[in-house]
């Protein structure tokens, strides 16, 4: 998604991530992580994510009540593309970088047909969504 952020930064597209609950805390690859105890704990994990991955994408941190995540569907890795006038353009139960790239390419090409953009990102080669 960092590639997508960079690719569309000059074309009036903002990429945001919302940090939500840890779905696999304590499991095989994630033994050092526990369920969030409070908001500060949650924020510290979100900051760790930013640092460990070197993320430039703004990470919004949902509250402990998960209010926003529940409104949006409560699945771990959902995605929405929203048109600049506030209407939903695309939704996905799992983030798919290639599909997101394709939708954005169509949107920004529609905004300015004199500067067409093509899809260039392939999710199949990615191991993680972020």
């Amino acid at each position: 998604m960092e590639q997508i952020r960079e690719k569309y930064a000059e074309r009036d597209v903002e990429v945001l991530s919302m940090y939500v609950r840890e779905p696999h805390a304590g499991e095989i690859g994630f033994r050092q992580y526990a369920d969030h105890r409070n908001y500060n704990h949650k924020m510290s994990y979100a900051c760790e994510l930013v640092e460990s991955k070197g993320l430039q994408i703004p990470i919004l941190v949902d509250g402990m009540d998960q209010q926003h995540h529940e409104i949006l569907g409560n699945l771990p890795n959902i995605a929405y593309v929203v048109y600049k006038w506030g209407k939903v353009e695309y939704t996905a139960t799992w983030l798919d970088a290639a599909a997101t790239d394709e939708v954005l390419a169509e949107l920004v090409t529609g905004d300015d047909p004199s500067r067409p953009v093509k899809k260039t990102i392939e999710t199949a080669q990615l191991g993680t969504a972020i």
Binding site: P58, P76, Y80, K87, A124, L126, A129
Partner: protein, 87 residues
Amino acid sequence: MVERNHFLKRPPGPLFGFWSWRYLNKWKTFRLVTSKRVREFYERFPKNYPPGSAFPAIELETTDGRRIDTRGFLGRKHFVLFTGAIT
């Protein structure tokens, strides 16, 4: 052309989306993904905010101490919002 209300049962990526299972407790994950509660989330999702509907305002604090309100993009920017975590 990509389906605008894109329904994926598993994460995309290598190994048909099963790449992440080597990091997970397989039994716990199996119980989770086959549970009635999670099935209902998947069933409800396409009707939540389908393409063409108005997206709800989201205002939250970021890791760098800012507050972002998605209403601030209105008329100026398209945006992508996705959810995630470390695990």
